[in-house]
Amino acid sequence: MAAAEEEIAVKEPLDLIRLSLDERIYVKLRSDRELRGKLHAYDQHLNMILGDVEEVVTTVEIDDETYEEIVRTTKRTIPFLFVRGDGVILVSPPLRTA
């Protein structure tokens, strides 16, 4: 089989991650954390190393007086980080065409 063909095939879910190496990906984590960054490495647990990461943390507070929900998002950038796989909910690679 042609190497190129082999590379494109998504036979198991982790292939989707393999195809995203060196691309910017979106990662949804537990406790309302989201990351966008370049995927440098990953393993079968979905531990990941990301670079040039933007982290968004969403918090909901209840106003003491009006009891209204206040949704806050906190953004920060982190040059390089390790994500432990057990916190990962979803990974979405950049849109690819064929």
Binding site: V10, K11, E12, P13, L14, D15, L16, I17, Y26, L46, G85, D86, V88, I89, L90, V91, S92, P93, P94, L95, R96
Partner: protein
């Protein structure tokens, strides 16, 4: 260990469908994946593995029945999965 009657073809009158039969039958089909958090993902199932890790296409994320996000491709880590459903039926809100 029993595997849902697969080792006993007689039981269940031929209608037995084990989890692995189910997984084989749903590739490429529209599915709803519900997570333990209550979030739903609707899309086309590309593939999955024994951990219930899932790769989906044309994925839509629903929180409390409302569309919140769309992803071209999505990988969902299996430990979060409550169920994978084949359905065209719509949600019905109870009282």
């Amino acid at each position: 260990m029993s595997s849902g009657g697969a080792d006993k073809p007689g039981s269940g009158g031929g209608a037995v469908k084990t989890p692995s039969d189910f997984l084989k039958s749903i590739r490429g089909r529209p599915v709803v994946v519900k997570l333990n958090s209550g979030v739903d993902y609707r899309g086309i199932l590309a593939c999955l593995d024994g951990y219930m890790n899932i790769a989906m296409e044309q994925t839509e994320e629903y929180v409390n029945g409302q569309l919140k996000n769309k992803y071209g491709d999505a990988f969902i880590r299996g430990n979060n999965v409550l169920y994978i459903s084949t359905t065209k039926r719509t949600l019905a809100d109870g009282a």
